[in-house]
Amino acid sequence: MEMEAAKMIGAGLAAIGAGLAALGVGNVFAKFLEGALRNPGAADSQQGRLFIGFAAAELLGLLAFLVAVILVFVA
């Protein structure tokens, strides 16, 4: 296989990771909402933790994007 084609295929495959991170981020907010609706009084105090979970889940998706960018522009 040509090197250029292999890079592009690899970059495309890396996009799967972004989709999986979307599942993760959706899961974080879904679970938060589920808990918040059961106990709305405690919801506001947990917003910081919500965003920590969001940041952790999102970072892994951004890493997938980074892999794609490195494959296309750097490698």
Binding site: S45, G48, F51, I52, F54, A55, L59, L63, F65, F73
Partner: protein
Amino acid sequence: MAAEEGKVDPMKQFQIEPIFGQNWEPFGGFNIAFTNSALWMAVTVVLLWVFVYGGMKRELVPGRWQMAVETMTGFIDDMLAANIGTAGRKYVPYIFSLFMFILFGNLLGLLPLGLVGLHPFTFTSHFTITGVLALMSFSIVLIVGFWKHGLGFFGLFVPHGTPAPMIPLLFVIELFSFLIRPISLALRLFVAMMAGHVLLKILATFVIDSLNAGPLLGATIGPAALILMIAISALEILVAGIQAYVFALLSSLYINDAENLH
């Protein structure tokens, strides 16, 4: 990249260009020319200064402007009080500056100034800049940690109640997760901003290219891409706020580790 005729390069918006003269090497060998990145950082600082200065009136009944500034400072104050406790008050100036600088930088980069011929530059979409910001936070963690706890700061890497045989393994793992913090902090902001801007540019290319491709494609894909672009722009404003918040939040959490260990 296969750059064909008439194709818009979505990465060109991140190019750093000197604006007043190409080279300025007062120290020999190091080009410190004033670039578009530096220009937008200066614009951000000036706007931030105007924003805060306009609100520092100390009136008993605050006007709108003072209210806006006090909401932001109060927001950071609450965040630090919740995450660090009473010791967090002395970090309000740093976290507030960090948060506002990133927030203004993100939002200024999204301004549609291209309509009047200016090219807004999002300096937070560069790893060098977010990396320096993250290193500043990390340095504060290290300095405060070793200053307050001395070598006891290494206790951060051994959680309470760890069985003795597990200590060497856990120490290494915790050390790695500690050392990776500035990288992940910088990476998150830079990639989130870059991805959003690339996406907007690609959608803009769809609009232009579909209009050039003929009436059928121009009438179907063009408006759809334009509407999507408007929606993504709204999402980008949200992301700009969230990323600034996450950066400030994680910085304050890391400082909490240094202040209070576990």
